[in-house]
Symmetry: C2
Subunit: 119 residues, 2 copies
Amino acid sequence: MSEDRLSRVFAALADPTRRDLVARLSAADATVGELAAPYDVSLQAVSKHLKVLEDAGLVSRESRRAPVRLEAEVFDLMTKWIERYQQQAEERYQRLDALLAEMQEDRPARETAREEDAS
Amino acid sequence: MSEDRLSRVFAALADPTRRDLVARLSAADATVGELAAPYDVSLQAVSKHLKVLEDAGLVSRESRRAPVRLEAEVFDLMTKWIERYQQQAEERYQRLDALLAEMQEDRPARETAREEDAS
DNA sequence: AAGTTACTCAACCAGACGGTTGACAACTCG
DNA sequence: CGAGTTGTCAACCGTCTGGTTGAGTAACTT
């Protein structure tokens, strides 16, 4: 289910530490130890964070001590989801604006038919 | 802190029900009851979901029974974050590809004499 | 082979999360 | 006014999450 994947991706990025990890990995691959160094949490905690990112498909590694690498393709999944509804919403607002503009053209004193108005 | 806001937005969208609410609201505003109808969870649960979306700034309402409206601008926040690191990562991969291609041009047998380059 | 380094697994804990039910607040309407 | 509708608040429950520490595993170094 791709739906589930999207949930994991969003959940993974909901944590500031994990977003920071992604940000740093976008600049350069790095090992777990290197990644953990700047934070004042334990290495195990960072290792867990990386597992979450890995399960979401945002990150990969060839072996245990190999540098962690960002999988940038996953971003497309999010971007697509976002863009779809963003566009849809914006189009709707544009239609609303158009409607309001159209109503504006009519005389304010004698506007066109609300519900209480007999037709 | 805008950082915190981003966390709330991502966390809000990590839940499939909430993503579905956003999807439906992108098509049309709707009241809480209307929104709750299709799901087989209680109205209270949906009310809670809407509160999460509202706290994340994804959704707004003028009064209690007023239709819920999608705030599409928040999407920009996410899109910006994503694009930044996506681009950065892609550029890095391109540089890596270029480097690999360059290394490929040199004879494997001969050593690293790279002087005939004339671009 | 032994020792060190780098990382993960396991158990545990406090707090957040998604859901429930029940009570209540607020608006609409006869 | 009183009654019904609509939505929220509060308390509770089981599960997930982010953190800890301690032990174990895998891989380099000597």
